[in-house]
């Protein structure tokens, strides 16, 4: 009897897990579910729309058209000798992925309160799946970008891809980490302060203006430049444009800064999320 009693318990539920007890192993055990969620997002995203998946391509094309008219023709923002179409499309592509990650993860708790209140699985699976399913749209839009670039290369309009191209996956990961990390922090805080939901919707728009999506860093007056360089997305977008079309001021220091920023954000996000996850259901 005693030997049976002493046998190890599989799980102990206590009032609060340690701050760093993140249960990452559990996520690995639920990887099937992670892929199922990605498949669900993919399958249901464009249900009951006439154009379906075409929207993934249409959206950046329309955006690009508007940017060309507004920022290039009217505002006459220079694009570092690169055709404006390519310049803008670069920014739009990566920025889209960032906003996808942020927007889809920032409402995790509020949107999933029903399912979270009924069944336990590692909550982190949900935002993680959104971040990964964003890669599907990203790859389609990236293919579009490549097609446009190849068109300009073919017609000889002074575009050259650089060896930096190999850095693209890293830049995408950094973008995902930033979006997910920020999303996790916001979703955790939203449990108590619903106000943040409103902040996110226009905050993302404001952030776009401060993220060098439709202008190069080189045209920013000295006085403001150091200020805008605090934004990690600026470094990532500049590096991305440099990699794709050879335009922009990339700096290794900037990228290192952005990487550190992204990982710190993601880590804090995961820690806070893990904290809130345990009892949030009591407060909805």
């Amino acid at each position: 009897m005693n030997s049976v009693e002493k046998e190890a318990w599989d799980d102990i539920i206590g009032p609060q897990r340690g701050l760093l007890d993140l249960k990452i192993g559990e996520i690995w055990n639920h990887r099937d579910l992670l892929f199922m969620f990605i498949w669900r997002d993919f399958k249901t995203a464009y249900k009951q729309t006439a154009l379906g998946f075409l929207w993934v391509v249409l959206q950046p094309v329309l955006m690009m058209a508007v940017y060309i008219v507004v920022f290039s023709r009217i505002a006459r923002i220079p694009t570092e000798g690169v055709p404006p179409a390519v310049f803008f499309l670069c920014g739009i592509t990566l920025w889209n992925y960032f906003t996808h990650c942020l927007n889809r993860t920032a409402n995790t708790f509020v949107q999933n309160s029903n399912i979270f209140g009924k069944i336990y699985f590692p909550r982190l699976i949900t935002p993680l799946s959104k971040t990964l399913s964003g890669l599907i749209n990203l790859s389609v839009q990236f293919a579009l970008l490549i097609a446009v670039i190849l068109y300009f290369v073919y017609t000889g309009q002074g575009i050259h891809m650089t060896g930096y191209l190999l850095m693209v996956p890293v830049l995408v990961i950094l973008t995902g980490c930033l979006g997910l990390g920020t999303g996790l922090i916001i979703s955790s805080l939203t449990v108590t302060y619903r106000d943040l939901m409103f902040v996110v919707s226009f905050g993302v728009q404001l952030l776009m203006f401060a993220s060098a999506v439709f202008y190069p860093v080189s045209i920013i007056p000295e006085d403001y430049r150091s200020f805008i360089l605090w934004n990690p997305m600026v470094h990532i977008l500049e590096a991305f444009r440099y990699a794709m079309v050879g335009a922009g001021a990339h700096s290794l220091t900037g990228l290192l800064y952005a990487s550190t920023f992204a990982f710190v954000t993601l880590f804090s996000g995961v820690v806070i999320f893990n904290r809130v996850e345990q009892t949030f259901i009591d407060s909805v």
């Binding site: 318990w9 599989d10 009032p15 969620f37 249901t44 399912i115 069944i119 259901i281």
Partner: protein, 436 residues
């Protein structure tokens, strides 16, 4: 001691406190103020919580309500435990903590083996996805691996009975079909411990039986089941151990039969029945009609709460009509403990009021329930009045309760066995021939 009986869930001093009114408005200022206040007065929230716990029982104190207090419970392998208690007794909270949906405020729960929780059937199903995809997704949410679902797929489909619609999005399914699909997935969960919360209330009778059968099968495999239900009959058949909760504390644990008996006795306690209702807050003619008073009396006019089945009873109702209506009926429903409306009666049935206008004023009416009509049980009474298919101008749900008791009538049985059915009227039997 055999392996079969080792403890699989050990609940030690578990308490759960819900904060009240703090989150819903999510007011930043107030929250900040509270934090500041706690900080200034030198105690953090945990300290004040512990303090409140000793001072006060289950009551609300400093915006905090204890849903569970000092729960100690050991559940052994193969036990099928039924948890009973009134609404708000803490049943669901306990299941939520065990299934890790929320954490306890104090204490801890040790678990051996994997827990499958069925707090709601079909959780996480997506209407746009096909039945096939939903089986996989629902299964994975419940923690089953893909390989495992592959292996069980045919059985699940077979059990749910929707093989024809496998590739149809489930938004085209009826509610019943979705429930069947959800339960089918859950029933094949291969976990050591299964937590079930009132899931069987849905679906048709045939399917409910099928579910119970499946759960019995699970139980006979030596797996542990925790079961919350208001259906005493199901619990009695199904569970071998019982736990009774009241106001967040364990009242009694033991064999299920004893627990049910104790609980039923408690429920039929005089104090828990309200057989007299007086409306003390009659608003100035805001409502079109208002219930003023309702009470029960026996044949001699004495106020009563319970009455033997062979006696008649009269329900007195006093209500106020503030407007003139062209047509009205006053209805009363007798509802038993399972929520079944056993009888509905209308005042237009036996008076000449049918189709006639009624003037504003205070009405006193009675309705008489003859002897040997309702079975000996506890009933609650719902009163409403209105113009059929037009408007309900008065509604009072479960406003009073009464009990029909049974003592020395044709219903008495030597074995103490409860008779089934809803009506206690003795019918006439005749023996036409007997070959003795």
């Amino acid at each position: 001691m055999s392996l079969m009986n080792r403890p699989v869930i050990s609940i030690e001093n578990v308490s759960k406190c819900y904060r009240l009114g703090e989150f819903d408005s999510a007011s930043f200022g107030r929250n900040l103020y509270r934090r500041m206040h706690e900080w200034l007065s030198g105690n953090n929230s945990r300290g004040s919580r512990a303090l409140a716990g000793t001072a006060c029982d289950t009551a609300v104190d400093s915006g905090c309500i204890w849903a569970l207090r000092d729960i100690n419970l050991e559940i052994r392998e193969g036990d099928i435990v039924g948890i009973i208690g009134k609404n708000g007794a803490g049943k669901s909270t306990l299941l939520k903590i065990i299934s890790r949906i929320t954490t306890p405020t104090e204490g801890r729960i040790k678990i051996r083996g994997k827990i499958g929780s069925l707090l709601e059937v079909g959780t996480g199903m997506h209407p746009e996805m096909t039945a096939r995809e939903n089986i996989y997704m629902n299964g994975m949410i419940l923690g089953i691996k893909r390989r495992e679902i592959d292996r069980l797929f045919d059985e699940i489909v077979d059990f749910s009975g929707c093989e024809v619609f496998l590739d149809t999005p489930i938004k085209r399914f009826s509610t019943g079909m979705r429930v069947r699909l959800g339960f089918a997935v859950a029933a094949f969960l291969d976990t050591e411990i299964l937590i079930v919360d009132e899931v069987l209330a849905v679906g048709d009778l045939q399917f409910q039986k099928k579910c119970l059968g499946k759960m019995e099968e699970i139980g006979s495999e030596g797996r542990t089941i925790l079961f919350v239900s208001h259906n005493m009959a199901t619990l009695k058949v199904f569970c071998n151990k019982g736990v009774e909760l009241n106001s967040g504390r364990i009242v009694l644990t033991g064999p299920m039969d004893e627990i049910i008996k104790h609980y039923m006795d408690l429920y039929s306690d005089e104090s828990s029945l309200t057989s007299h209702y007086v409306n003390e807050s009659v608003a100035a003619d805001d409502n079109k009609a208002e219930l003023l008073e309702i009470f029960l009396a026996d044949a001699d006019g004495n106020r009563i709460t319970r009455i033997n089945v062979d006696q008649g009873l009269t329900i007195h109702i006093k209500w106020k009509l503030n407007i003139e209506v062209p047509f009205l009926r006053v209805c009363m429903e007798f509802i038993d403990a399972t929520g079944t409306v056993v009888l509905m009666t209308e005042d237009t049935d036996s008076t000449d009021l049918y189709g006639k206008p009624r003037k504003p004023g205070i009405y006193s009416q009675t309705v008489t329930v003859p002897p040997l009509l309702l079975m000996p049980r506890i009933y609650s009474v719902t009163v409403f009045a209105g113009m059929p298919r037009v408007e309900r101008i008065l509604e009072a749900n479960n406003v009073i309760q009464f009990e029909i008791t049974e003592n020395n009538t044709h219903l008495s049985s030597v074995t103490g066995e409860m008779r089934s059915g809803y009506i206690s009227t003795p019918l006439k039997w005749e023996i036409l021939s007997s070959d003795v």
